[in-house]
Symmetry: C2
Subunit: 595 residues, 2 copies
């Protein structure tokens, strides 16, 4: 029953790539000069086939038979080795990197779209590749050539995998409290000692080696964030005898509620005082290095949120079209055949809500990846700077909106399946479990809200917010020129004005020293910004349809989803921004002992 | 770490029982004459101890080791036999029933509160008792004396268990499509033939027999709901040789995402054409009998939603008070100790939101149970009728609000636990999985919304809505008299007016024949009604605190939770009622092929 699930709408992918976002323009930049839209679509098409034919068929078994831990070894599901070979062959690890390091120079916006299929098919399987890209990219950006040769090359080649080893038992969201220690040695390496937790893919039987990109503190480093450095710590290190054990031990496996195909483990470094680490870049700059990779990682989480919601949306849509149950309110003859549940208005409400979330968020994540490409490869400094501002501003929303609303959307997919949806005989419950992680890893939703309001919105005296205002104004102009009706266009303008005004008000609070007051309603602010940005993306989509005078079923469905968002969600911004103005301070006032 | 979880706040239970709802008054009715508040609290106290000392310690193991199916037998977790004995001894099955049938004549409002502890501790374990109560109560209400003696008595005594066998593979929400057949026999019994699915507790190794209260169609019965009858079908039937097999076979076990302690099974009746069934009450009245029990079953689901959210709220509160992570915005010295995460405003927001949902919904479910007691045992016909109207109106909200908002609340409990919350090393993820069922069983949330708007609100020319208006007016008068500030009181009045006006508008649509238009936004209507009713319960609680001039930590926390609800949720009613007025018709218009 799941074999017909498209995972992601092909028509929507083509629409985003060709009509909504000007991806063709990227091919005019030197970095992407050897590409064109057709080569992008070929690349995406390959991912689509890999996703549907190879990754998705293995998903259920990997969800139901998680990796087994025989200390200190972890045995993955037997299917994983084959999937990883396919992923490597597809270029899932290195496609977005330059040709010089073995990549294909595919823009992020294109790898994002192709990864969407891979993630929707089997998030855990793709994660081995995605984490390896992230770890190798850190070395590409900040490592010395010898380090790149030793660690980056085998990772990009798919011979080894990589991880990000940040979290410690007492330091999750608070990275300044990392205590893993590094003692400098005469040979330029470091002896590492510490414990990390929640390391995804931190142990496996897939490749001969794993490289852990690890945050640690060099002996004598200053306290806090300014004393944290970045190290490459391989599971096995090169020696005259080939690869030898590097005193990295897997001490436990967490039993996660989802993402069951990839183990999340606890690691001990240096139990025998023989764990060698290699400093990446300069000492004490680990956090800043990590943060320069953070946008990409967070967009990936957003993409995963979209993917997990997308596959469940398509599953529930198919179920609703084919499951007969009940009759319309007005045709109550019990001998008449039951109708497919998609005919019931409340079921269509749940489906359209999923569609509005999934396709709105997909467009937002694509836009964010597009700004990442512009920020790195744009033709002039001014455009690159503006794109970087927008990238920074959009990222916390592109990360958290798909996670939070995607979870809601995944719950609706379960609900549409009724009692069956509550069982593992059907897949929606697995996707619901998977989705929950996205609001937690790579910075919780709360952290994203503080990042958005406390850092991004006020950066450069509000330059990012102004850039967003310009982008929204351009979208409105585009929509008007294409013939989209005025009230819809004006609604987005009014919504932006509400968000802009409350932003200035809150920034003013911060400048006057009332940081608590400024940030108290960061959750409501993030919610409002998410509703606004998704509205923006729906306006762009409606504009693109109008430009091509499209009125097929695809276009009509899009227009209804946009109408749903504008009528149902956009009006909430007024309420949310009112809350941000601190008319409500209950949870600031309540004391822990009063809860 | 979980052993200190109180499951439910004892102080809150005492507050609801003594100060908010006038439970003492029930003891003036003949049915409850032998009771007083102290005996009620003794009964609740016994449940509390059983829950904390016996049921909760077994919860994790039962979640992790679900029943095993060796066709046709199901082996429960070995702990379950002991738990069931304790539940029977406590009176969990029969306490609410009259002394004449072995009960204790405890009002529903009191069994609801005591069951809250049992459910919060171990929902699956309690479910064996709760389902047995429901099945036996059907026989008590509608069965002939011989049937009561044969089936009701052993169930009330806890020697056998009972189930509700309604759902068939093609007939879940649509009970009129039931096809299980009953062929009358000369001896007055029926030969049963059919298949049922999702029968909770439908097979077990706990008791020597199980009685399935089953919807089926007598041969030649009219189509639809008017041809459905109710039967008692035992797993084993009495014979000269004692209990013999009654041709009821368990053909499969569903793999549920939660409620893992109780199996949900598929049953086949009459494979060998030797399945004897006994008609309960009159032929063709099965649905109406079932619906007369439905309020009680739905309040139980609501109670379970509250219980599952409550235990998770207390778990995350304790975690937030003790887990150090990060520092305040203004004290950024990295050498200063980390603070407990409850000090972070956004964590307190999540906790206060949980509290507002859990304690608001708990008060609503208690109120609903109270009206059920009044409707059955009230001193005069007028009061009984009015209580019955309110009971009918409140039930769909008391069922669905705790399920939907409880799920959100349970997700917040996971979120507060961060990465740990995503693992089964901690319990919140299990409660999140458990909670999802409550929006599905005993009528999905969509069904509840249609029941509320299409049936309850318009019943008796709006008599129930008028009764609600009176109840809210009484609450406002009580609050004003106690000294609650005017704007809070007025806000509830204004919110009711919004709901009342849109109700009349929608009822008008229905009367004019536009049933689709009336019911299109039933989900938004249910949402608005839920926000209003929880606001009502918070006003009652604030009033009760003011009456006793209470200003301890308990009272201050309650006031902040009420303030949170009034500021954050009540204003949403305007938006929701606007949507109900059909300004938005996207999902009525969208066609299945456009999604």
């Amino acid at each position: 029953m799941t074999s017909t699930n498209p995972l992601v709408s092909d028509a929507d992918v083509a629409f985003l790539l060709r009509d909504v976002h000007d991806v063709a323009r990227l091919c005019t930049f030197p970095a992407f000069a050897e590409h064109n839209l057709e080569s992008f679509e070929l690349f995406i098409g390959a991912a689509r086939r890999l996703a549907r034919e190879v990754l998705f068929p293995a998903y259920r078994a990997m969800d139901q038979e998680p990796p087994r831990f025989s200390p200190p070894h972890v045995a993955l599901h037997p299917a994983m080795a084959g999937l990883f070979e396919h992923l490597v062959a597809h270029g899932a690890i290195v496609a977005s990197r330059p040709v010089a390091v073995g990549g294909l120079s595919v823009p992020l916006v294109v790898t994002a779209l192709s990864n969407l299929y891979l993630m929707a098919a089997n998030a855990s399987a793709y994660a081995f590749a995605g984490l390896t890209t992230g770890a190798a990219h850190l070395l590409e950006a900040f490592g010395e050539p010898a380090l790149q040769k030793a660690f980056m090359e085998p990772m990009y080649a798919g011979r080894w995998t990589g991880t990000m080893a940040l979290t410690e038992p007492h330091a999750g969201s608070s990275l300044s409290d990392v205590t893993t220690r590094a003692v400098p040695q005469a040979d330029g390496t470091y002896r590492m000692r510490g414990a990390k937790v929640f390391i995804s893919g931190g142990e496996q039987d897939l490749t001969e080696n794993i490289v852990h990109l690890t945050l640690a503190r060099i002996e004598g480093a200053p306290p806090g964030i300014k004393g944290v450095s970045l190290f490459a710590i391989p599971k096995r290190r090169e020696s005259a005898d080939g690869l030898v054990d590097n005193d990295v031990r897997c001490t436990g496996v967490f039993h996660k509620m989802g993402w069951k195909g990839i183990p999340s483990v606890a690691l001990d470094f240096g139990e025998r005082d023989d764990c060698h680490g290699w400093l990446v870049g300069e000492a004490h700059k680990g956090i800043s290095y990590m943060f320069q990779m953070m946008n990409e990682a967070r967009i990936m989480v957003g993409m995963n949120g979209v993917a997990t919601a997308s596959v469940a949306y398509h599953e529930s849509l198919e179920y609703a079209r084919t499951r007969p149950q009940g009759r319309s309110f007005t045709a109550r003859d019990p001998r008449s055949p039951q109708v497919p549940i998609v005919e019931h208005p409340d079921v269509r409400r749940m489906l359209l809500r999923q569609k509005a979330i999934v396709e709105g968020a997909m467009s937002l994540v694509v836009a964010t990846a597009y700004y990442a490409d512009l920020a790195e490869h744009g033709p002039d400094e001014g455009e690159r700077q503006k794109a970087a501002l927008l990238l920074d501003l959009l990222t916390p929303v592109a990360k958290s909106f798909p996670a939070e609303r995607g979870f809601e959307s995944n719950a609706l997919a379960v609900q549409i399946h009724g009692g069956y949806g509550y069982t593992s005989e059907y897949l929606p419950e697995a996707w619901l479990r998977d989705q929950k992680l996205n609001s937690i890893h790579e910075g919780t939703t709360g952290i994203q809200s503080l990042d958005l309001l406390g850092r991004k919105v006020v950066a450069g005296q509000g330059a990012a917010l102004r850039a967003l205002g310009e982008a929204l104004a351009a979208a409105r102009a585009r929509a008007l020129a294409a013939g989209v009706e005025g009230p819809t266009v004006d609604a987005l303008g009014a919504a932006f004005t509400q968000v802009e005004e409350v932003s200035l008000h809150l920034a003013g609070l911060g400048l006057s020293g009332d940081v608590d007051g400024m940030l108290a309603h960061s959750a409501d602010y993030l919610d409002a910004m998410g509703v606004l940005l998704i509205g923006w993306q729906w306006l762009l989509q409606v504009a693109a349809l109008a430009e091509t005078h499209r009125d097929d079923a695809f276009a009509r469905g899009k227009r209804q989803a946009a109408a749903y968002w504008f009528a149902t969600e956009l009006p909430r911004i007024g309420h949310l921004t009112t809350l941000c103005r601190s008319v409500e301070s209950s949870y600031l006032r309540v004391r822990p002992e009063e809860l």
